[in-house]
């Protein structure tokens, strides 16, 4: 799937609108986040979205089942047909990793219901969007229904799936050359110099990073790949026998993440929690599943209140 097709810039809106009513794109509000748009003019494509699309599929709070008087019942409804436009390469791969863990590995019915009627339209980065990007070091792959290459007056579209191919064909777009592998990787994004950090676990520089950490958990909530969660019961105060069991995002940066009876916290030291996130992202997930978890989007650095750049920290380790 390396064919390219040409779409004139002034036809983008009509092209998207013709596909359905639910088009989502990054929009600048309090932050750049994905929202439903009625015209592509509303989209902000100047920077990486602050909030990734994760919440649409692996929702921050998901009802697992309802219970009433000793009976339990699930209510899983498929999300409507939606198109997400403006996803960067890192975020497309983040969806790939979440699809892998939730759909392929775990056949999670909740995630699947939110994700299955979705099309992913990428927006290619020619170069790093900011100085913290490192997607080029993470071995990312193509994972889109259609990728859009912005050539100002026109777009080059690369269909990456059967549905994507069908859309492009039905829109009768003209062939415009072939995509080369080297043009898929944004320039200046390979700043993580080490491929394997598993032997650096006892390196003293981790303390330096952890010293700046406030355990605020911004990094985990804004990470497009983090999938840790807790399970809770909520009851109505009016009727303590009815309620719902939910799963909610949780953060390994908090002590409560490992707290057991007797107030014993397994990762009591901040440096252990700080390292755990990075090792899960860069080592543990890969050891178990053979693929990386982190996609190098850099959000956990740009949105960290003290901008702890763990990539340059790792680069300095000997």
């Amino acid at each position: 799937m390396d064919a390219l097709y040409r779409l004139e810039a002034d036809k983008l809106d009509i092209f998207l609108q013709s596909l359905g009513p639910d088009i989502y794109a990054p929009v600048k509000t309090d932050a750049i986040r994905f929202q439903k748009i009625s015209s592509v003019k509303e989209a902000d494509l100047t920077a990486l979205a602050d909030v990734p699309v994760k919440d649409f599929f692996f929702r921050q709070r998901e009802q697992l089942f309802k219970f009433t008087k000793g009976k339990i019942a699930t209510e899983i409804k498929d999300a409507p047909f939606r198109i997400f436009f403006g996803l960067r390469r890192c975020d497309l791969n983040a969806v790939k990793h979440q699809d892998f863990i939730f759909i392929e590995k775990y056949k999670d019915p909740y995630y699947t219901a939110q994700r299955k009627n979705t099309l992913l339209f990428g927006y290619h980065c020619d170069e790093a969007l900011n100085k913290y990007c490192f997607c080029g070091s993470m071995g990312l792959e193509e994972y889109h229904d259609i990728m859009f290459f912005d050539k100002k007056k026109y777009f080059l579209l690369n269909p990456g799936s059967k549905v994507g191919q069908k859309i492009v064909s039905e829109a009768k777009l003209k062939r415009a050359g072939t995509l080369k592998k080297k043009d898929t990787i944004p320039k200046g994004t390979d700043r993580l110099e080490k491929k394997d950090i598993s032997k650096l676990f006892e390196n003293s520089l981790w303390e330096k990073g952890a010293d700046e950490c406030l355990s605020c958990s911004a990094c985990t909530s804004l990470c497009p790949t983090c999938y840790c969660h807790e399970v809770k019961d909520d009851v109505k105060l009016s009727d303590l026998k009815s309620g719902e069991r939910t799963r909610e995002w949780s953060s390994c940066q908090l002590k409560s993440f490992t707290r057991v009876a007797g107030e014993h916290v397994f990762r009591e030291k901040r440096v252990d929690r700080f390292k755990h996130r990075i090792y899960h992202q860069l080592v543990y997930f890969k050891e178990r599943y053979g693929v990386n978890m982190c996609v190098g989007c850099g959000r956990c650095i740009t949105h960290c209140p003290t901008t702890i750049d763990f990539v340059s920290l790792i680069n300095k380790m000997k």
Binding site: I72, K107, V231, R245, F257, R259, V260, A261
Partner: protein, 267 residues
């Protein structure tokens, strides 16, 4: 593995108080399992908790619970004949058939004796498959001693060493006083052809591992049962992750060499 958070309703066949804060529920569940595995037990509205299986039987499944939190306190209120929500069994327990022909040293502290009890019952039912069996059981005080109704049987089949850390004043007690690890230290044990199962408070486990090492036990002869916060029990929520190990899938029973990998500076 499938993400399945839905529990089944099971009947409580029996309820026994073991001590002031610990009790046993016998559940009407006939499932194949290994000793040392655990189930997720819940009361809708209160929550769910992982609890290790403390029996070994084809006809029922027992869990022994210490009242330490919301869910375990609420479970104490459950009556014989009522229902509970359960899913599982989960995890890797003691793979007993692979240990045929060996001697076993059981070292349990407090409610850590509960997961060991399943393995002890397995050995009782398959006594000929194992050599020398030693039980080292330590409790805080005489009132905290668990499974007293089973002790006679155990003494008939095994070498039982028991002690309590302390005796409160005005208590009548004629057994050993002191840490169970002191008893372990003083008792001669043949490391060759023997494995050790340890479960208890972190300090007791660390101390026992040191003592066993001094007696010639290798890391590969020691099995520890880990307690971690966990929610899903099938490896998705990641709360129980220790280094790269998922306690719910790779454990809760680990051979000690599997969890000491940070020793050489490796994650």
């Amino acid at each position: 593995m499938k993400a399945d958070y839905l529990p089944q309703s099971v009947k409580v066949l029996q309820k026994r108080d073991e001590s002031a804060d610990t009790f046993t529920l016998r559940l009407g569940m006939k499932v194949d399992h290994d000793p040392g595995q655990f189930i997720q037990v819940s009361i809708p509205g209160i929550g769910e908790a992982p609890i290790s299986i403390s029996s070994y039987s084809k006809d029922y499944l027992e869990i022994s619970i210490r009242k330490v939190g919301n869910v375990t306190n609420a479970l104490h209120g459950v009556k014989k004949g009522s229902s509970l929500f359960v899913r599982g069994p989960y995890g890797r327990g003691y793979q007993m058939s692979k240990l045929k022909g060996k001697g076993i040293v059981f070292i349990g502290g407090g409610c850590g004796v509960a997961p060991l009890k399943g393995a002890i019952e397995y050995v009782e039912k398959n006594r000929k498959d194992f050599k020398e069996i030693d039980l080292f059981l330590g409790f805080r005080s005489p009132g905290d001693i668990l499974f007293t109704s089973r002790h006679k049987d155990w003494e008939n089949h095994f070498n039982v060493h028991m002690s309590v850390d302390q005796i409160p004043s005005k208590t009548c007690y004629s057994g050993n006083v002191g840490f169970i690890t002191d008893t372990l230290n003083k008792t001669p044990i043949q490391a060759k052809g023997t494995v050790a199962f340890i479960c208890g408070p972190p300090i007791m486990m660390t101390k026992s591992i040191q003592l066993l090492a001094a007696k010639g036990f290798k890391d590969t002869q020691i099995y520890v049962s880990e307690e971690k916060l966990m929610y899903c029990a099938f490896g998705l929520c990641c709360h129980c992750m220790d280094k790269g190990n998922l306690t719910c899938l790779d454990g809760p029973v680990f051979r000690y060499d599997e969890i000491v990998r940070s020793r050489d500076g490796k994650a």
